[in-house]
């Protein structure tokens, strides 16, 4: 499956990869930070990955054993399960720019021009 993903990872007009994105958001209860994070994530995905993403929210208070699998320490943590490699983004995702970089959704040249 992994090899397939790599093969289909051709940039489209926006510099994004075309394939289903599997994202997992770890939270611990309905804390303001968690809610903010979920809201931010939803927004980013809608604008950059429309119809190509799936968000799975895991509440560690309900499923504490799952924290081990993805090595979750910080809350909230967003894990990009697919496409590989696995990437982790911690925080309430309020810094959209860094989220995009973290998720590898920004073409390098674009970030480079925007940075200064």
């Amino acid at each position: 499956m992994k090899t397939k993903t790599v093969r289909q990872r051709k940039p489209d007009s926006n510099g994004r990869t075309a394939k289903l994105w599997q994202l997992r958001l770890y939270v611990a209860g309905q804390t303001p930070k968690s809610l903010t994070a979920f809201g931010n994530l939803k927004q980013i995905c809608e604008s950059h990955l429309k119809d190509r993403y799936r968000i799975e929210v895991i509440d560690l208070l309900e499923q504490p054993h799952l924290s081990k699998g993805d090595q979750i320490l910080a809350i909230p943590t967003l894990v990009r399960k697919l496409p590989p490699p696995v990437r982790k983004i911690i925080g309430d995702l309020s810094d959209t720019e860094r989220v995009l970089v973290g998720l590898d959704l920004r073409p390098v040249d674009l970030t480079a021009t925007k940075a200064p």
């Binding site: 611990a28 504490p64 054993h65 943590t77 982790k88 925080g91 309430d92 995702l93 309020s94 973290g102």
Partner: protein, 588 residues
């Protein structure tokens, strides 16, 4: 629970303690780590933090029935199991039996992107889950500082750590947090400011190329604790801290005496030898027969059917045995019979503490009645003087508490004052023998003194110490107007004495003979005088006879003459007188 038994040994007013089970540490801390509170263990790389933490958990689970969570930020579960297996802990089995839970927390900074506010609730949840899963009473976090490398925002991290320690306290678990030691602070990231209850520093110092581990309780809020730096070692069965002062001076003293194997030496020691369980120091310059004396002592123990353990730091067992054969001492039979054991090790092989631990172990397994350390001074190579003294103190304390008689040989370098043993250890010793070389007349001779022997009358005399193929013997040194003479000088002196005696005997005999002669001469003289006297007497007698004869003749003649002249009266008278008319007739 078992732990309650432990707690009850301390007064209720004291802080509840959580025994670690680590040998020696509970003595220093007066019962263990503060129960229900976090303790910080810090130290440099390779000083045994992880092992310390692991032993705390394993012993807690095995000895005190307290399950524990080991949250490792560095090593994986498999690595941990492997590492502690070296020390005889079967972590895997404990994990299977849900006594211990291992959790490897892995943080890779390159995988993490920070975007805004966050907290470490994930870690809390995870830890909480682990604790609840096995009902843990103990928690180890090894080492939390990995978080600093993994998480970019230090402000959040610090706030969260503070929360973590408070949370651990509220959770009521006894936590052990390890941290790398830093330059300015105890720990690299100043973790000690969050953990205020108990801080233990581990240290691995290299002194003269030999590494020794040290442990120090820097802080223990609400409890008295040993403040010294205690050496500790990591042996086959885990960590053992060796508190120098933990052993009290309350060992029982035996009044039983044991022979030294040298009858004359026993005689010098009140006739019976040393006390059982006493410590004996044998100092001497090189080549004075310290090892020989020690070997004889060991053999004497074996002869009594007691076990003797010989720690040799300079010679191999076979070398000692060969050398002892030259003085008529055969040690192999005793080794074969299991009454004598040699333990040879180079002093530089490991640090003092390791030596001590190995010696303890040997003593525990062999259970000897007599222990010989030959030479004690070699251990100076492995440590500084004060360390060696501390080590020997502990060894002696231990041996005394076990009623084991110990003989330490000590090499005194020529030129040093003999009364000063190298390690200034003499005050710890009950008896002190000194073997000294006396040089003179082109030879060296050994002289033995008993410098001290506590609790027994002992000789103040110096004895000449002779080593021959028949063994060791002590001989009265010649003490005369010429001072103390030994060896050839002693022999020469006694020969001179003998000659003098002979000469005076001969002189007496000569005088006797002369006297005899004189008496004989005198007697001869007396005899001569007597015969002279007798001759004179004879002469005198003869003279007397002559006189008498002449008188008679004269009388006769006169009578005849008178008769002739008719003097009748007189004739009649004279005729009556002699009635010998014949000569008268004849003359007529």
């Amino acid at each position: 629970m078992k732990t309650n038994d432990h707690k009850s040994t301390f007064p209720a007013t004291r802080l509840p303690k959580c025994p670690t089970g680590i040998q020696g540490l509970d003595e220093i801390t007066g019962g263990g780590l503060p129960r229900g509170r976090p303790t910080l263990v810090c130290g440099g790389a390779g000083c045994g933090k992880t092992l310390f933490a692991a032993e705390f958990l394993v012993r807690g689970a095995v000895q005190f029935g307290e399950p524990g969570v080991f949250m490792s930020f560095e090593e994986t579960e498999a690595e941990l199991k492997g590492n502690v297996a070296l020390l005889g802990f079967d972590l895997a089995s404990l994990v299977r039996r849900k006594k211990i839970l291992l959790d490897h927390v892995y943080i890779e900074r390159s995988e993490i992107q920070e975007t805004g506010e966050y907290d470490l609730e994930g870690l809390f949840v995870r830890l909480n889950h682990a604790i609840d899963a096995i009902g843990a009473r103990r928690v180890v976090l090894d080492t939390l500082e990995a978080l600093f490398a993994g998480l970019p925002n230090e402000a959040i991290l610090r706030a969260e750590l503070r929360r973590l320690f408070r949370w651990l306290k509220n959770k009521g678990v006894t936590a052990l947090i390890s941290a790398e030691s830093g330059r300015e602070h105890l720990t690299r990231h100043g973790l000690e400011e969050y953990v205020s209850d108990c801080v233990i520093v581990l240290d691995h110092r290299i002194n003269e190329q030999i590494a020794t581990r040290h442990l120090r309780v820097v802080k223990y809020r609400g409890s008295p604790h040993g403040t010294n730096e205690y050496p500790f070692l990591i042996g086959d069965d885990g960590i053992s801290v060796l508190p120098i002062t933990s052993l009290g001076l309350n060992h029982a003293a035996s009044s039983e005496r044991i022979a030294t194997g040298i009858p004359r030496l026993d005689a010098m020691l009140g006739g019976q030898g040393f006390f059982r369980g006493s410590s004996i120091l044998l100092t001497g310059t090189p080549g004075t027969g310290k090892t020989s004396t020690a070997a004889v002592f060991a053999q004497a123990a074996a002869r009594r059917g007691e076990r003797a353990l010989y720690f040799a730091f300079e010679e191999s067992p076979s070398q000692i045995m060969r050398n002892m054969q030259s003085i008529g001492l055969r040690l192999e039979p005793w080794i074969k019979r299991g009454l004598l054991r040699f333990h040879s090790a180079r002093p530089t092989l490991y640090g003092l503490e390791m030596h001590l631990a190995i010696m303890f172990k040997e003593i525990f397994t062999f259970k000897p009645a007599v222990v010989i350390v030959d030479p004690m001074t070699s251990l100076l190579i492995a440590g500084s003087e004060s360390e060696t003294k501390a080590m020997v103190t502990r060894l002696i304390d231990f041996l005394k508490s076990q009623q084991i008689t110990s003989l330490f040989t000590s090499l005194t370098h020529a030129g040093n004052p003999l009364q000063q043993s190298e390690i200034a250890i003499s005050s710890l010793m009950d008896s002190w023998l000194l073997v000294q070389d006396i040089e003179g007349n082109g030879e060296r001779n050994r002289v033995l003194y008993v410098l001290k022997a506590r609790g027994m009358a002992h000789s103040n005399q110096s004895r000449e110490f002779l080593i021959s193929h028949r063994g060791i013997d002590l001989v009265d040194a010649y003490i005369g107007p010429g001072g103390v003479l030994t060896g050839a000088a002693r022999a020469a002196q006694s020969a001179r004495d003998k000659a003098e005696t002979l000469a005076s005997e001969q002189e007496a005999a000569r005088r006797q003979r002369e006297l005899e002669r004189k008496r004989a001469a005198l007697e001869r003289q007396i005899a001569a005088l007597r015969s002279e006297y007798e001759a004179e007497e004879e002469e005198l007698r003869r003279l007397g006879e002559q006189v008498a004869t002449r008188t008679r003749v004269l009388t006769a003649e006169r009578t005849e003459l008178a008769s002739l002249r008719q003097a009748d009266a007189t004739v009649a008278a004279s005729a009556r007188d002699d009635g010998k008319p014949k000569p008268k007739d004849k003359k007529r």
